[in-house]
Assembly symmetry: C2
Homo-oligomer: 119 residues x 2
């Protein structure tokens, strides 16, 4: 089920490069990747898994409510992240000029189904 949802996410979002369901420990449950030069989705996800853990901790310390979503915009890419559970998140890597609004919508739409699978 993860594979199918990840493929849908990447195929239906213009500019998407890859999507991954991953634990905060940096271990991916599943991923779907469009072949693109120079991008190692696994490496990107592991780097950001670590950061997300810190963001989650900060949200807890500051009592700003549970972390739900993190978006990162760089010179070349957009990274959309939605928290699925205490232990897992889903990340969508896309080109900068990609349709982030669509990607965000699809992540929101698919999150409840993915959460149910993780339980």
């Amino acid at each position: 089920m993860f594979a199918e949802v990840l493929r849908t996410l990447v195929e239906e979002t213009s500019g998407a490069i890859g999507a991954v369901v991953m634990g905060y420990d940096g271990i991916a449950i599943d991923q779907h990747l469009r072949p693109v030069e120079g991008v190692d989705l696994g490496l990107v996800a592991v780097e950001y898994a670590n950061i997300l853990k810190e963001v989650k901790k900060a949200a807890e310390i500051l009592q700003t409510g549970e972390l739900e979503e993190v978006t990162i915009l760089t010179g070349g890419y957009q990274i959309l992240i939605r928290i699925l559970s205490e232990d897992y998140f889903i990340g969508l890597l896309m080109r900068r000029e990609g349709n982030a609004g669509k990607g965000r919508f699809l992540l929101m739409r698919e999150a409840p189904g993915l959460r149910a699978e993780l339980r």
Copy 2:
């Protein structure tokens, strides 16, 4: 000049709580805060300054292009961050139901002026 821009940002964005120009070392140059119960903007900014430093480092390691913007959505708040330079960023803390699109637009509009001041 920072104080004026920060005030404009907070006043013109519905749901905004406060804005801060801060270094990655967690030291604020200036901030503007609406009085709100239970939110310590300084504390929030210091926590996230640390995280931003990690995000910036990750963007460099992964060669995904320079970091420009980070958005964090929690149960209660939205945090919009725009990078100003190698050393400084501007953060806008707002209630979850606030107008993030407007906040993001204003951060983009004001960033070049703030950058010029930082030089």
